[in-house]
Every structure is written in structure tokens, then in C-alpha cells.
């Protein structure tokens, strides 16, 4: 049975339209109207056809009906459906209709006769998937058929505010992701024990190879890592106690990444400001999860131990370094002076600058403080020494475990850990309203 018959709509051919130029204006208007109506109709039909084709219930209904028919054989049966899953009750009539149609195809006619054989379908689910169960009752014998369905992907609404933050999923992983970097030759992903290289396919990134980092000592809990580009085909990675350098050999015989890792307690690079000529680095406490507070070269003031930093431009023309201390306080270092910033009570420990071009041009995207059930991201500006939210919160799928700017600075990347310990890297961009 074909539920999605191909819909053909006859549209005016281009030559017909050219010939129409020679006709009167009224005829042309009428032709245009007909053309638009036909196009609209075709779009409507295409949409409805496509919606029907992508109905998530078709396949499981067909599979369950086939199993039921295999038990019952041709004949009449009474069908009842019970929904104990999160499927909307509005979908149940459609599922019933599909089942009835599919059963009929297999010679089982659904009847209201209570004396007939009975099919009790339960739309159920477990923690991982939906499960449709049919209890087929013939006299005193009950047999069971089951079909397992994958749960739907979650749809998320975009937040709206002074500017709008949007996320786009870059990759998902079962392993903790510390950082990721898009290069001309693919995606580099820093995990706790390996560096993974991925190449882009038509349906997203696909793992190409992975290299063991080979740390001499285990990483601390709540590990951190940094990946920065070093020229077009190179990168540098930092983890607690270890540094790696990777380069891509494009030669046909090679065409692969070469990575060397070595023990190192050298300072890690902080995200760069356009205005700073010398790269600024900071020492990371390899046995903990934070920077010691020692920055090199000095920025004029010594901050307390911190988790995150970001450079923001100031109205005066200079830049300021925003520092997120391990005590939860957020400070700026501007002209060698350390000053506290107000309005950061809801900030988590991760933030990054985004050069959106909206508002003052640069905002800081900060994770939420983790008080809520799910983390969110919010963009802030700093007209003075107070963080002013300029976007609505954007919910993310889980807890933000790392946030860093993309190499071009126009987007930031967020690594999150989901409820099922699934890691995800999302690209966060800002749209000016």
C-alpha cells in the first residue's frame, strides 16, 4: 500500500510565460495569479506529502502489525490501544489508524465485536527507547509481540533578547571533550587521553584517526584542556602536565596528522586580544582544575587563582582582561589595575568573548551558575564595571564543562555533558536583533 502517492502539479512552462508577454496586461495578471496559486498548491501538497512520509509511527506500526498478523493469521480481531508513554494523546488516533490499515493489509480486520480475538496494544517506553507491546489474546492463550522505537530528537527553541544566541551542534561523543578546533584539514578534538581527528562528511564530522596522548600522570577530576591553532595546518594542545603539537602532512603518501606530546609544566596560552602583541600565558595547576594566577608576561596586576579569562575592548580604546576567580568573583585587569565586576552572580566558571558585531561589538558569553536543572548561556556587555545581560538565556543540553572562542573570534564553542554522560560540542553564535 502506498500512503504517499506522488503528487504532480502542472506548472506553466517557461515558454508559456514568454508568450504571455505578448498578451494583454489582464491576461498576464491572471496568468501570474494562476502560477502563484499552482506553486502554492504544489508547496502545500509537497509539505503534506513530506509530513506523511516522515511520520515516525509508520514503520513501527507496520512492524507491529506484521508480528500480530503472524500470530493471529487472517480473521477478525478487537483492537484496543493504551498509551503509557510520553507520546501525545493526540497522536494515538493516528497510530490506531496506521495499525488498522497495516493489519488489514495482512488480512486482519479490526472489528468492534467483543467476542472476536483481542489485540491489546500498549504504547510503552523505557529509559532509552519507546516500546510498543501487543498482547494477542486467542481464547485463553496470550502471545506477545514487541517493537522498539528510538526516541525523537529534542527540539529547542531559540532564545530572544537584545541579541539572540543560537547553538549549532558540532559533534557528540561518549568521551569527555576538553576542547575542539576546526582547521583547514578537519576537526581536532582533545579528549582526556587521546586527540581525535575528524573529517567532514555530508552528514557531519566522522572520526578519521585518534592518537594517544600518553600522559605520565593521571589528569585531575574536572580536567581542563586548551587547543589553539598554530598556523593553518598546525595546532598546540595543553593538558595538565602535558603539551602536544600537531601538524598535518598533506602529501598524498601521508595525508595525515602527526602529533608529538611531552611532559610540560609550561604556561598555557590565554585567549588573545587583538591588541596584545605578545601572547599572554598563565600557569595551570596540574594537580587541580585552575590557573595559579601567575600570568606571563605580567599584565600589571596579579589576579587570584582563576578558571577562565577573556579579553574585552573598552570604550577608552584599550582592552581589559576579565578573570573568573576560583572564589566565584569576576574581576577585570585594565591598565594594570584589578577591579571587581558586579552583576556576575549568575555566572558559572566558564566564559569566552564573542566578537558578534552587535551592540558594542564584543560580548562575553558566560555559562550559568549551575543552580538550575540545566545550564544556560547568556551574553553580557560591560559598559562600566557591571555585567549587563544583552541576550535571553539559551538553554543547553546538559552542564557546560568548557567554553572557548573559535579561532576567528566570531563564535564560541561550548562543550556540555548531558544527563546520560553524552558529551556534545556546540557552536554558539550571536544574531543582532
Amino acid at each position: 500500500m502506498n500512503r504517499n502517492p506522488e503528487v504532480k502539479v502542472q506548472l506553466p512552462a517557461p515558454n508559456d510565460i514568454i508568450r504571455a508577454n505578448e498578451k494583454s496586461a489582464e491576461t498576464m495578471k491572471a496568468m501570474k495569479l494562476i502560477r502563484w496559486a499552482a506553486m502554492g498548491l504544489s508547496v502545500l501538497l509537497a509539505v503534506s506529502s513530506s509530513a506523511a512520509a516522515t511520520s515516525p509511527w509508520e514503520q513501527p506500526a507496520a512492524a507491529l502489525a506484521e508480528q500480530i498478523a503472524g500470530i493471529l493469521g487472517p480473521g477478525q480481531a478487537h483492537l484496543s490501544i493504551r498509551n503509557v508513554s510520553r507520546i501525545s494523546s493526540e497522536d494515538v488516533p493516528a497510530i490506531r489508524k496506521l495499525l488498522e490499515q497495516d493489519l488489514k493489509m495482512h488480512g486482519v480486520t479490526v472489528s468492534d465485536d467483543e467476542s472476536a480475538n483481542s489485540i491489546r496494544v500498549t504504547l510503552s517506553e523505557n529509559a532509552r527507547a519507546r516500546l510498543w507491546v501487543a498482547e494477542v489474546v486467542e481464547g485463553s492463550v496470550t502471545q506477545v509481540a514487541m517493537v522498539q522505537l528510538s526516541p525523537d530528537g529534542e527540539q529547542r527553541a531559540q532564545a530572544v533578547g537584545g541579541l539572540t544566541l543560537r547553538t549549532e551542534r558540532v559533534l557528540t561523543s561518549r568521551e569527555p571533550v576538553l576542547a575542539a578546533l576546526e582547521t583547514a584539514n578537519g576537526l581536532v578534538v582533545l579528549e582526556t587521553e587521546q586527540i581525535v581527528f575528524e573529517t567532514r562528511g555530508p552528514d557531519g564530522w566522522h572520526e578519521q584517526s585518534r592518537v594517544s596522548i600518553g600522559q605520565r600522570r593521571p589528569l585531575p577530576r574536572d580536567p581542563k584542556g586548551v587547543l589553539i591553532p598554530d598556523g593553518g595546518a598546525q595546532f598546540e594542545a595543553w593538558l595538565a602536565g602535558t603539551q602536544c603539537r600537531g601538524s598535518y602532512d598533506p602529501a598524498p603518501s601521508q595525508g595525515q596528522w602527526m602529533v608529538s606530546c611531552y611532559a610540560s609544566d609550561d604556561p598555557w596560552p590565554l585567549t588573545q586580544s587583538d591588541q596584545t602583541a605578545v601572547p599572554v600565558k598563565a600557569f595551570f595547576n596540574g594537580a587541580r582544575n585552575y590557573f595559579t594566577g601567575v600570568i606571563t608576561p605580567s599584565v600589571g596586576a596579579d589576579p587570584p587563582p582563576f578558571y577562565s579569562t577573556a579579553w574585552i575592548p573598552r570604550a577608552s580604546g584599550g582592552t581589559a582582561l576579565v578573570v573568573g576567580g576560583i572564589d566565584g568573583k569576576v574581576l577585570t585587569i585594565e591598565n594594570g589595575v584589578l577591579k571587581p565586576i558586579a552583576g556576575t552572580r549568575d555566572w558559572g566558571s566558564d566564559f569566552a568573548a564573542i566578537h558578534s558585531g552587535c551592540g558594542t561589538g564584543t560580548q562575553i558569553v558566560a555559562s550559568s551558575s549551575g543552580e538550575a536543572a540545566v545550564d544556560s548561556l547568556l551574553a553580557y556587555e560591560f559598559p562600566a564595571l557591571e555585567a549587563i545581560p544583552v541576550s535571553a538565556p539559551l538553554d543547553v543540553r546538559g552542564t557546560v564543562v568548557a567554553l572557548w572562542p573559535a579561532p576567528d573570534g566570531k563564535t564560541v564553542l561550548a562543550a556540555t555533558r548531558g544527563a546520560e554522560n553524552q558529551y556534545e560540542v556546540d557552536r554558539v553564535s550571536a544574531l543582532c536583533n
Partner: protein
């Protein structure tokens, strides 16, 4: 004027820099109070702090690598090879070797193991079985297969419990078990510097200590969860962590399966869940929790006294002996079950669980470990010596294997029960793991330096 001044002060206060919530801090001592033995298997609270398994379960119950970095099976799951993670050391500094793992497993499981033989081959541990072992990686995450050091380098038996876990034993005196952070733990150093586990205070004393700040994590018996919530304790309740079940002998008077089926039909599971366990458990007639399969409703939980009488068919069973593997709520549950049985024409008499002769009926709890239904089914059924191993992990195969097992009526599922703990204000990011235990290694303290 004063009003304006007050408003100005309030606005100024609002804009003052305030401390945000941060990443977890390292340091400090977590103080835990429990009633039972912290080393008591299964799932004594200290066991997973000190020991690791070859595999582990993440919070969703999925199997993850632990002391084994990877594994392969061949010969249709009759042979498994687990590669040991390099660079792992026991708390005494001795390296984790395949020989040490095999010694520990042989001590853990002297008989009725999921495998027939286990031996060390280089840096791998090889298991072989007489029948397929499709669920072995998940089973090895269980409490009974945690790896402990059984012999020191000079061949002596180590004094005390030595593992590879995030904490090592510092001392155990006067009911206070002191654990220190394992700085070189392969999973990363835990966030807290130390854990003190105070053993044996009564539950209400634990709650009092929590409320006055003398304890950070305390136990909440399932039947007291509502009471704890009413006292405004911060209570963490796990997914179903164990199954309350009645183990029924298939010998003596109960060799007749109809009598065993009559016993199953006569028990009022809903009363157990709602009254004894104060609605914190879920009445069940299936081995596997609803959340794991989605088909638990195929095993009806309703009591059917008529059916019980019908199945008994006027047979007079002699007085049955009933033992309880536990106390408190379990003992109350046993008394209610005895009443239920009496209404169905059986006489049940409670006897000591440690008696010389095995009781006809034994009320016990069985851990529900993991998120893989086939592995949980094998683990639960293995606990009564009759492993049910479905040929594949499809829902239909799983249902058939469970149905076949339950139709023997040698284990009657009654209630799925969670574990519960309460934590104090100092503790942050405390979560319960797949076994329902607090993951103290990943918890930190708000006031840590």
C-alpha cells in the same frame, strides 16, 4: 529622605560584586554517617571508594572501561579478553597486574561464577566459559567483582583493604573509618582530601548531626524518605537500586509448582510498597524494573486471592518457614507476607535467617545493577543460582527469558526499591551512581580552601 537613602543602599547592594558559583574546589573532609558496615557487600559505602572493577557503570547504567581499558570476545562469547589499563597502582604502590586481578577474582568468586576459568596472559585477563557469556563486561562492574590486593610483593597477605580506587584507608578506629585521597588515582585525584565514615549511629542521630553541621552525608532508609523530606533535609533518591523478592524453595512441600504459584498470587505487593515502604518503592511482579524494559506491565502485580486458592486446590501444605535477610522494614514486610499467606491457606512461621536449615521462603533484597536489561536479568537470576541468559538483547527475547524464569516461581518479585541519602549545605555536586550510592569522589565542599 531615609526611605530614599534605604532604597539607594538596597540598589547599591544589588550591584555589589558577589561570588558566583564556581567549578568544584579541591580540599576538605567529607563526613559521612551510616548505620551498617561500610565494607559489607554488596555495595557497602566504602567499597567503591577504595576498590575498582575491571569495568564500571556510568550514571545511565552503561558499561564503561575501568581497570580494563578495553575488551574483546571471541568464540561466540565463550572467551573474553580484558586488557589492563597501564600505569595503575594499588594504594601500597604495587602495580596492578593481571596476576593480581586473577587472584582477586578467584577470591571474590570461588564458585558459581559467570565464567568457568580466569587466567592471566601478559597484561590481559582471559575468561573462558562453558556457555556463552554475552553480559560479562556488565557483570564485572558488579560489587562482587571489585579488585583488591590479595598478596603483597613478598607474598604476604596485606593488612587491611588495599585497592586502586580514589581513596585509601588511613585508619579504622572506634567506629570511624578514615580515608585519604589517592593522589595518583587513575581516574584523577578526588576533589575532597579525605572522607570520614562514622559507623553505627542510629538514623535519627545521623539526621541530627546533619542538621547541626556535624555530618555532610547521611543515610535515609527508603521507608523514611518522606519523613526526611518533611524535616527539610536535602534528599537524593536513586533509581530502583534493589529488588525486594521472596525466594521460594522448590523442594519439600513446595516442590509442587502450583503451590509456589499460589504463594505468588497471594501476596499484596501494593500494600508492601504503599504501607511498609511509604510509597517510595514500586510494586512489581517482574525481575527487571519498568524503566529498564518498558514491558513490566505484562507481569500483573495485583493480588488474586481467588486464583491463589484455586492454584492451591485444597492442598494442605505443612507450616512453611520464612526467614528475613535484614531487619527494620524488611521484618515488617515479612510479617505482612505471612498474613497474606494465611489468607490464602498457608501457614508461615518466621525463623532465624542464620539457622542451620534453609527456610522454605526467604525475604531478601537483590541489587539491580546496570542499565543493560539482559545483564541485570542474568545478575538477578544468578543470585538464586539459576541464571537466565536471553539469546539476544531484543525486547522479545528478554521478555521470554524473564517469563520462563518467573514461571518457575522460585523467586517472586515484590517491590523495586531505591536508595536514598541526605546531604548537608557544605556538599555540592553530590550525585548517586548507577548502584544508588553517593559518588563521594566527585563531590566537593563549598567551604573547601
Amino acid at each position: 529622605m531615609y526611605r530614599r537613602f534605604a532604597i539607594s543602599c538596597f540598589v547599591a547592594l544589588l550591584t555589589l560584586p558577589t561570588a558566583a558559583r564556581t567549578r568544584p574546589h579541591y580540599g576538605g573532609t567529607l563526613r559521612v554517617e551510616i548505620e551498617g558496615d561500610p565494607w559489607q557487600p554488596p555495595n557497602g559505602i566504602a567499597r567503591r571508594l577504595v576498590f575498582d572493577g575491571l569495568t564500571t557503570l556510568d550514571t545511565t547504567g552503561a558499561v564503561q572501561s575501568a581497570l580494563a581499558s578495553g575488551w574483546e570476545s571471541d568464540n561466540a562469547n565463550h572467551r573474553w579478553q580484558f586488557r589492563l589499563r597501564p600505569g595503575v597502582y594499588f594504594h601500597d604502590g604495587s602495580p596492578l597486574t593481571s596476576t593480581a586481578v586473577v587472584q582477586s577474582l578467584n577470591l571474590d568468586c570461588p564458585a558459581n561464577c559467570p565464567w568457568a576459568t580466569v587466567h592471566a596472559v601478559g597484561s590481559t585477563v582471559v575468561f573462558t566459559g562453558d556457555s556463552p557469556m554475552p553480559n560479562l563486561p556488565a557483570l564485572l562492574a558488579g560489587d562482587e567483582f571489585l579488585i583488591a590486593l590479595t598478596a603483597t610483593a613478598d607474598g604476604k597477605t596485606p593488612s587491611g583493604n588495599i585497592g586502586t580506587g580514589p581513596f585509601q584507608v588511613t585508619s579504622f578506629n572506634n567506629g570511624l573509618l578514615a580515608l585519604g585521597a589517592n593522589e595518583t588515582c587513575w581516574q584523577g585525584r578526588p576533589l575532597a582530601d579525605a572522607i570520614e565514615i562514622r559507623v553505627h549511629p542510629a538514623v535519627h542521630d545521623q539526621w541530627l548531626d546533619l542538621s547541626v553541621g556535624r555530618a555532610d552525608v547521611v543515610e535515609v532508609p527508603v521507608e523514611m524518605v518522606r519523613q526526611a523530606q518533611q524535616q527539610r533535609l536535602t534528599v537524593l533518591v536513586s533509581q530502583p537500586a534493589f529488588l525486594l523478592a521472596l525466594e521460594v524453595t522448590d523442594s519439600g512441600a513446595l516442590v509442587n509448582p502450583m503451590l509456589r504459584a499460589a504463594i505468588a498470587a497471594s501476596i499484596d505487593r501494593s500494600a508492601l510498597a504503599n504501607v511498609i515502604f511509604q510509597k517510595q518503592g514500586e510494586a512489581t511482579a517482574s525481575l527487571l524494573p519498568r524503566s529498564l524494559t518498558g514491558f513490566a506491565f505484562l507481569f500483573p502485580v495485583d493480588r488474586d486471592l481467588n486464583k491463589a486458592h484455586e492454584l492451591r486446590g485444597g492442598l494442605n501444605a505443612p507450616t512453611l518457614t520464612l526467614s528475613v535477610d535484614g531487619d527494620g522494614a524488611l521484618r515488617l514486610a515479612a510479617q505482612r507476607i505471612a498474613l497474606n499467606l494465611k489468607e490464602a491457606g498457608f501457614n508461615a512461621q518466621e525463623v532465624d535467617a542464620g539457622g542451620a536449615q534453609r527456610a522454605d521462603l526467604m525475604l531478601r533484597t537483590i541489587p539491580l545493577e546496570g542499565g543493560e536489561a539482559a545483564a541485570v536479568l542474568e545478575s538477578v537470576s544468578r543470585s538464586v543460582g539459576a541464571p537466565a541468559i536471553p539469546p539476544d538483547s531484543s525486547p522479545t527475547s528478554l521478555y521470554r527469558a524473564e517469563r520462563d524464569f518467573l514461571d518457575r516461581h522460585t523467586l517472586i518479585p515484590l517491590v523495586d526499591l531505591p536508595r536514598a541519602y541526605a546531604s548537608g549545605a557544605r556538599v555540592r555536586d553530590l550525585a548517586l551512581d548507577a548502584h544508588g550510592l553517593p559518588d563521594l569522589a566527585s563531590a566537593s565542599l563549598e567551604d573547601a580552601p
